[in-house]
Symmetry: C2
Subunit: 180 residues, 2 copies
């Protein structure tokens, strides 16, 4: 249900096409939700059939039509009820935890490679968070009320990423000591 809710949230802020939403998932919403284009197109179509969205097909000269989706009153109601119902606890399901659990079975260089590659991914994520922060929340002291929550969310994302990074550095350091 969460993909649905995220789509409703972003289309309520501004109507758009599947492709528009995909771009938002890659930029301003990257710290909140990510999904592939296939998932987005399929879900938008399904939500349209269920009347949560309306769709204006904009014909374009010599180009495929753009399907611009708008939230409907039913969509708003659905979103409100999603917001009102508390989320249950999410199950622990982090593939990396599983790998690290048998860490000692890897050859030393493979360990280093996996950690370094993960470190890289997380650094990139930090950069994209930083870019979002600069673009949207340059002055945290003067945030509008509706900007405060997205800012807090971003802050949590940054801190969780930092926690990961610090841990990786510690494990890398310990590995280095073990080798020497």
């Amino acid at each position: 249900m969460s993909l649905r809710a995220v789509l409703l949230i972003t289309l309520q802020r501004e109507p758009g096409t599947g492709y528009d939403v995909l771009q938002r998932f890659r930029t301003g919403l990257a710290h909140v939700w990510q999904a592939s284009h296939q998932q987005i197109y399929r879900e938008l179509d399904k939500m349209h059939r269920e009347r949560l969205l309306s769709c204006q097909t904009v014909a374009q000269y010599d180009k495929p039509d753009r399907k611009v989706y708008h939230i409907t009153s039913e969509g708003i109601a659905f979103l409100e009820s999603w917001l009102a119902s508390p989320l249950g606890a999410q199950p622990v399901r982090t593939p990396l935890f599983a790998k690290f659990f048998v860490w000692e079975r890897w050859p030393a260089d493979a360990r280093h490679a996996e950690l370094a590659s993960l470190r890289n991914t997380l650094e990139e994520r930090m950069d994209s968070y930083q870019a979002i922060e600069s673009a949207w929340f340059s002055s945290p002291d003067s945030l509008l009320p509706h900007e405060r929550a997205p800012w807090h969310t971003l802050r949590l994302g940054k801190r969780l990423t930092q926690t990961w990074l610090a841990w990786i550095d510690e494990v890398l350091e310990e590995d280095r000591e073990a080798i020497s």
Copy 2:
């Protein structure tokens, strides 16, 4: 694929039935992976059909049979190749982030309720981590080599949970100030 890998890891350490694995997911493996009994039974059956596991049916007097699964050499090979291939970055998909993104639209008491309930869940998770630590890693200075990685994994789980808790407390505090 990760569920498969976790099942192979735990069955390699010690063979067991679906129910045994379920118990492990609830206790010693709770910080690594969680899955429902349906998922476990189905996956074990599938892995057996694919020869990654062998199965001894132990008839019990006046009770349903116990199906004890053992890892096969094919299972070991599968696990090795999973360990050797680096994991890609996991997509960001945290329902709570989506909700917090539109935080300002909730009534104040609903916000407090959701955060408090989440705080509670995380406290419980911390407790279970603590229990695992006491039971398995009481003396971190004298860990056996194969215990070091699970211990690190647990430590990361604890820190991530603490990061969440600290963030929740800050947001709760800000909310309290806003009301007064």
